[in-house]
């Protein structure tokens, strides 16, 4: 006892407790060198760079609330007769999965709130991933060296869709059961192997007794495990590549201008996590999501109108809803094109956006690294393509909710189906053309602003009677920002013979590349940005106009 007091009486000879703990950890984990490398890591400030944070935080919230739900959920399809708190379901036969979901909603403390945070969080997670992905797409932030990270992000979105699907199917209610039946139908439509996959997945005929338990493992273990790994890899790559930034004075391809991770960004990001949690919690506390108690247990002989999947699967639903019921019968086998074509399109539409970065880098032939995010207007073809893709996605969503469009806007269901059928082909083309025109218009406006300055709105009368509007020249910072972007020259096929007079072979792939390049960067597809000479010539002479 006495020795202990003597050692404690001389604290000035020992380092503070925090430092001792840090020393202890450094000796075992090597945190000092890690912290040195990363504590001053710089992140640029822009609201759109925080979309990924929304994804990460909602993912964390979903994992935490999901763990709580697993404590009370019974992933079993054993049949029970309900005698719980919810009177309208008394005496109804249901699976344990559904009964335990009712119990979570009505008997578990905080169960309904946690369930709603989990579900709202999932919808917002997917929506945030969608917007985050589109931000990366439209600013060209997927270019070298970030192509792999783009794919990681894309995979996270697709896996998120399926995690969501397996999740909302777990309660085994009439709505989700209809959705699983729908999916099973789509699986059955796959030629040759469809039946086998269905039998394998459901352990026999639909619905069987295994579905909930299997979806449960997939939903809480397999898919989130992969997603967590991918998310960590995604973040490591963000650290490794450093974050992109928008062009501006002092910002180059070789630096990052912003705030250090510690303390500024840590504080902001930590605070933002609680803001995200708070908003999701407020929504979950005030607004019902998926009121399973009102839906009833799943029975294959029952169905309800208004049976839609959650929004991220909605475009697939829409494709099947509007597809004509074509089928081919050959040698006793049926090929259900009415379902199989939409199923294929579902994959194709998703894949198209995923491969764009590779298509673009092939067309430009650009092997350099890019760390400056582009403004969408400065790559009109890419922007137009992205908008066309979103248009397809949205038109699919309209088809998925066609019955609600019909009842709420007093339209004919059939008219909506036809609108979606035509819009599926015409919509993206129109969106492409319109977006491209808008981008080119904005580029022209930028050029105009650089060369002639900002319209001040002041009308001046000259001595000889002419009226002019006074233009204010832009300051150097703005001039730089508006002209910092690079513009590609369209690729050329090149001479038919090389310098030695040997005929050069130009393959069809190269011809296609040149054609695409002309379509992206050729005449009429981008507006040449003003050069320094042009600027000097205009500003040196007469001041007006």
């Amino acid at each position: 006892m006495s020795t202990a007091t003597t050692t404690e009486s001389k604290p000035q000879q020992k380092a503070p407790a925090g430092e001792r703990v840090a020393d202890w950890a450094d000796g075992r984990l090597g945190i000092y060198s890690l912290a040195k490398a990363n504590m001053r890591k710089i992140f640029p400030d822009h609201w759109s760079f925080m979309l990924g944070e929304i994804c990460m935080y909602s993912f964390i919230i979903i994992i935490l609330t999901g763990v709580y739900l697993t404590l009370f959920f019974h992933p079993s399809m054993n049949e029970v007769v309900y005698h719980g708190s919810y009177a309208p379901m008394h005496g109804i036969r249901m699976t344990e999965a559904y009964a335990s979901t009712l119990d979570i909603s009505f008997d578990v403390r905080g169960g309904l709130l946690i369930r709603q945070i989990h579900h709202w969080g999932a919808l917002i997670f997917l929506a945030a991933m969608f917007v985050h992905m589109m931000r990366v797409f439209f600013t060209g932030a997927f270019r070298k060296p970030r192509e792999v990270n783009w794919l990681f992000g894309f995979l996270l979105f697709v896996l998120g869709m399926f995690t969501g699907f397996t999740g909302y199917s777990l309660p085994d209610d009439l709505l989700s059961g209809t959705g699983v039946r729908f999916t099973q139908g789509a699986i059955l439509s796959v030629p040759v192997v469809g039946t086998y996959i269905s039998m394998f997945l459901f352990g026999g005929e639909f619905p069987g007794h295994d579905m909930v338990a299997r979806f449960y493992s997939i939903h809480i273990l397999l898919l989130p495990g992969i997603m967590l790994g991918l998310m960590v890899a995604h973040l490591i790559l963000v650290f490794y590549h450093k974050h992109t930034q928008f062009a501006g004075p002092g910002r180059t391809n070789n630096n990052v201008v912003g705030m250090p991770l510690l303390p500024v960004y840590m504080a902001k990001a930590g605070g933002f996590f609680f803001l995200v949690f708070g908003i999701i919690a407020i929504i979950a506390a005030a607004f019902t999501i998926n009121p399973v108690w009102a839906l009833g247990p799943y029975r294959p002989d029952q169905v309800s109108t208004g049976a839609q999947p959650d929004w991220y699967m909605g475009f697939a639903e829409g494709l099947i809803r509007v597809m004509p019921g074509w089928e081919i019968n050959l040698w006793g086998h049926t090929l259900v094109l009415g379902v199989f074509i939409p199923l294929t399109l579902f994959g194709v539409i998703l894949a198209v956006i995923a491969v764009w970065p590779f298509l673009e880098s092939w067309v430009t032939g650009d092997k350099r690294e890019h760390h400056i995010a582009q403004r969408p207007r400065n790559n009109p073809t890419r922007t137009a393509f992205g908008v066309a893709w979103i248009t397809v996605y949205f038109i699919g969503l309209v088809g998925g909710g066609n019955d609600l469009w019909a009842t709420h806007f007093h339209l004919s269901l059939n008219a909506i189906s036809w609108f979606v059928r035509i819009g599926f082909f015409a919509g993206p083309v129109l969106a492409f053309i319109i977006t491209k025109r808008i981008c080119l218009g904005l580029q022209r406006r930028d050029a105009e602003k650089v060369l002639h300055g900002r319209e001040s709105g002041i009308i001046k009368r000259l001595p000889h009677g002419e009226f002019i509007e006074v233009h204010e020249p832009l300051d150097a910072n703005k001039l730089h920002t508006l002209t910092a972007h690079e513009q590609y020259a369209p690729a050329e096929i090149g001479p038919a013979e090389d310098e030695n007079g040997v005929t050069r072979k130009v393959g069809p792939a190269e011809k296609l590349r040149v054609k695409l390049s002309k379509g992206m960067y050729g005449e009429g597809n981008q507006i040449a940005k003003p050069t320094a000479e042009e600027y000097k010539e205009i500003t040196s002479g007469h001041g007006h106009h």
């Binding site: 609201w47 929506a127 009439l174 019902t288 999501i289 208004g306 609600l404 009842t407 269901l413």
Partner: protein
């Protein structure tokens, strides 16, 4: 018998035979015909029919024909019964504003007394489902759970899980059941108005109808609890997705803009 056979060629014999035959058929009919309500208060009933006929001539005859026989604009009303009239006129669907895929419900323009008179007149055209009494439609002692099962089996495919309504082909629709009175739900099941199939007592007994009414009132009534908060129309994932995008992600992006706008940088000015 001699006397009868002697007079069988009498000029009035045919008339007498006719009288006998008529008396026999009439008497047999009186003896065996179902005793309708008409017999109980014959005068009041015939008065109602008279009044109903007048109302009919003004409000209905242009489409359904002067005698309820139907025209190209409206179906025959022979045999639809008083329940159909009570439902169609009592919910404001009839008289129809304009022809179309389906006649929507609107403001009721007749009093209940007038509706009863119209119903009496149409019922007099031919036997059909009778307007139910209050005790027939009272759901107070019904089995809500059983009603839910029946509802999901028979009704939900058009009217949605909790009776929020849904779309049918070519602009037709299954209306929302919110705020519909037990009597009208009962009559709709009984008569199958417009695009709805009918569920007569032979396929769905009175007790099951009561169960269904009880379920609809339990999940889509004025006193239905909403444990999860505001219901967003009870329309399922479409309205939820829309809400998550606009208010969920919208709010988060607004917050992100706010956070990004407040940096640790020293103020320039």
């Amino acid at each position: 018998m001699k006397k009868l056979s002697a007079r069988r060629r009498h000029p009035l014999a045919a008339v007498v035979v006719l009288l006998f035959a008529l008396a026999a058929t009439g008497g047999l009919y009186a003896a065996f015909a179902p005793a309708g309500k008409a017999q109980a208060d014959e005068t009041a009933q015939s008065l109602a029919i008279e009044e109903g006929k007048k109302l009919y001539a003004v409000g209905c005859a242009s489409c359904h024909g002067t005698g309820g026989q139907g025209t190209t604009d409206g179906p025959s009303l022979v045999g639809v019964g008083s329940a159909a009239v009570d439902f169609q006129v009592g919910t404001g669907r009839m008289p129809a504003q304009q022809p179309g895929a389906q006649v929507p419900k609107k403001k009721v323009i007749y009093t209940q007394a007038q509706i009863d008179q119209l119903a009496a007149y149409v019922a007099s055209l031919g036997a059909g489902p009778i307007t139910p009494t209050e005790s027939q439609t009272d759901p107070s002692n019904a089995d809500v759970g059983k009603g839910g099962e029946l509802f999901r089996t028979n009704c939900a495919q058009c009217h949605n899980f909790t009776g929020e309504g849904g779309a049918l082909t070519h602009g037709k629709f299954a209306p929302s059941l919110e705020g519909v009175s037990p009597k009208h739900i009962y009559e709709a099941m009984q008569t199958g108005p417009q695009n709805m199939p009918s569920f007569p007592d032979s396929t769905m007994p009175e007790k099951e109808k009561k169960d269904i009414i009880a379920y609809v009132k339990a999940v889509n009534g004025e006193e239905t609890p909403s444990p999860g908060g505001f219901g967003l129309g009870g329309l399922g994932p479409v309205s939820e997705g829309l809400f998550a995008w606009i208010f969920g992600l919208g709010a988060l992006i607004a917050v992100a803009v706010w956070v990004a706008a407040h940096t640790a940088k020293a103020k320039k000015s």
